[in-house]
Symmetry: C2
Subunit: 395 residues, 2 copies
């Protein structure tokens, strides 16, 4: 199979001068994404912000259809939200927690989600229960299922792919366990969206949130939330719905939107929304299966190349691993290495213990180098990274 790699790179002008291996942070936007944003900003300056939204209403509506196509869902199940954290918080806020209620999660859930749980523990007396990990890494879906069998469990959550390692959690098994006992599940798919095919309705989760800026290659400052029919039918809604999510139907009455829109707020940067739409269409045109196989192959190649370097230890664990590679560096501070690589035109990042305490403490490291290739990267770029790490002791 011949892949149009040159076309992808031509669509991403920065690849001509830059090795961008920080796609799990924020990927490079294809030119069509930047153009869509800049065009709409120009229109807003030319005719007014509300007037531009009116004029482009059908293009804005189409973004929901594009996201629905990406997630195997219908447009009515898609909420566009300010970012994935807002999406996750909106979903979590649909549940009224009382003291003793339980949230079941994993040892690898995203830091911001963990912080939200801690706050609920402090404020509402919620108990946070984490499923045990398998010996090879990743949550034990059977233990997850066991923890669900407690009547105090109110909701379950899982980060499909933690931001601090290449682990892919077995979300289908976890979602099936939740569905079997009727516990609502919130999936944080931030690192998976745009990297792997997703069929959100087939998972059976109540909510699934994602971000625009990572593997989806959209703009910073935007995200989305899939809301299942079951969640809508259960009447779930966020703690503070606004005029986008509800109508003021009488002096003291309100009525929720019958779609996922009830989880949206009214105000948007429509420029960013249109950029997100362009990013989704671009990903669909490349093909999610193609994207997945190529970026996972490049990640596997990265692990092989880096592990051959003296003093480098690959930290990624789990039965299945994706397009994030993390490595411990003997005698080198990953933050220094990231800066040195940056000076050589190679973008990577460092992941710190304080962002993933449970996982990083189990691995016994304070910081790791994180390399996240995407489908538009090349083997030669990975080789350049490996060479830079080899020739320069400071990275």
């Amino acid at each position: 199979m011949s892949l149009p790699i040159e076309q992808w790179r031509a669509d991403t002008p920065a690849t001509q001068h830059l090795v961008h291996l920080n796609n799990a942070g924020a990927s490079l936007m294809p030119r069509v994404v930047v153009d869509a944003i800049v065009d709409h900003l120009g229109l807003e300056a030319e005719i007014g912000g509300y007037e531009a939204a009116d004029l482009r209403q059908s293009a804005i509506d189409d973004v929901y259809g594009a996201l629905a196509a990406l997630l195997g869902s219908r447009a009515r199940n898609i909420a566009i939200v300010e970012n994935a954290t807002v999406g996750f918080a909106q979903a979590l806020s649909a549940f009224d927690f009382a003291a003793g209620d339980r949230i079941v999660t994993t040892r690898n859930d995203y830091i911001s989600n963990q912080l939200a749980f801690f706050a609920l523990r402090e404020r509402a007396g919620v108990e946070v229960v984490r499923a045990a990990d398998l010996p090879e890494g990743g949550a034990d879906a059977e233990d997850f299922a066991r923890q669900l069998r407690d009547p105090r469990v109110k909701v379950a959550t899982v980060s499909w792919m933690p931001t601090n390692s290449g682990l892919i959690q077995d979300v289908p098994a976890i979602a099936a366990a939740c569905a079997a006992v009727g516990v609502p599940l919130i999936v944080d798919a931030c690192q998976v969206v745009g990297q792997m095919p997703i069929d959100a309705p087939a998972l059976g989760c109540h909510f699934l949130c994602g971000t625009a800026r990572k593997f989806l290659r959209g703009p910073r400052g935007l995200g989305f939330l899939f809301v299942s029919d079951a969640a809508l039918e259960a009447g779930l809604y966020p703690r503070a719905p606004d005029m986008q999510g509800a109508r003021w139907t009488g002096p003291e009455q309100f009525e929720l939107a019958d779609s996922a829109q009830r989880f949206e707020n009214w105000e948007f940067s429509h420029a960013l929304v249109l950029g997100l739409g362009a990013a989704v269409r671009y990903a669909l045109a490349v093909g999610l299966e193609t994207i997945q196989s190529r970026c996972h192959e490049l990640a596997a190649y990265t692990r092989t190349k880096l592990s051959a370097i003296d003093g480098v230890t690959i930290l990624d664990r789990g039965a299945r691993r994706g397009a994030i590679v993390t490595a411990a560096l003997r005698d080198r501070d990953p933050r220094e290495v990231v800066r040195a690589l940056h000076r050589r035109g190679i973008n990577t990042t460092a992941t710190l213990r304080e962002w993933a305490r449970l996982d990083m403490e189990a691995k016994g490291v304070d910081a790791a180098l994180r390399v996240s290739p995407h489908y538009y990267n090349t083997v030669e770029e990975i080789d350049r990274l490996a060479e830079a790490l080899l020739v320069d002791p400071a990275g």
Copy 2:
């Protein structure tokens, strides 16, 4: 006093072909705002989204200082939030409501805030109490103070200027009443920011939220929240703090940021943030006193001109009125009039009963024409609006 009106209009190229009187919706961005946004988007595409944020960190930090200057506050009291609704919801979420707790507000609070209160009533049994209006319109600060003297009152809120009329609420008196009895106050200043000088610390409110896109002339999709020292010292924090607002300090511990940052989420469009900064600096350079006196004069002139037209009734009430003019139109649907004016190159908008039930029902109208001039508008533009309404029965 000679004002640099031509310069303001030159900085806003669309004024050459457009009469924009929808500044209470979204104002026209000055060129420097659009340039700041587009420049940063270009940088993100050129060097990467995280790398661009690192490179522009000091410019991003400066935006907090600019907002602090706008609000008479310090940078540590400023949170940048996704939009004003998120800011208001974050502030409201700092309080744990139990059944019977009361929120004291006005009959003119913004629809989205009202919907949030209704949701709290339905979900948590919170009671919503609205201060009576004065005969001339606007909340009676004495009645507001009376309602506060109930031990069940947990928090008070006021929209400084409702979106559906020119009313300016007596926020200093309401804030003083709250401070006198120690009830935390959340001020929604969306329509006031960029239109009038604000000294948030002097008000003594706990929180004050605002938006970028209205009279401040910033981008759509961004807002901010002032958090007072008293609110910080009281240990208030949002229901779902994320890694921007808190640190994960031990396996089961977290620590809040000691500044207003605890009300922020981590992910931003830094392009929009830099655009907001440019808008704030532009407003400060024009001068808030200058802005206020000019746009209030233009609004008063608009009321005079429109009320001279047969079948037009000005709806704005209250002892003090600002740069929003609302008018009932006999035998004409304001939505149709807005479309007809738009065809003549004049941007206005319609405000509907369902967005402001209590006020619009008291006024006995289903819809009103809303005209919101800003300091860069001219008397000639108001005259053009009036002529268009006169010569064309459809508007």
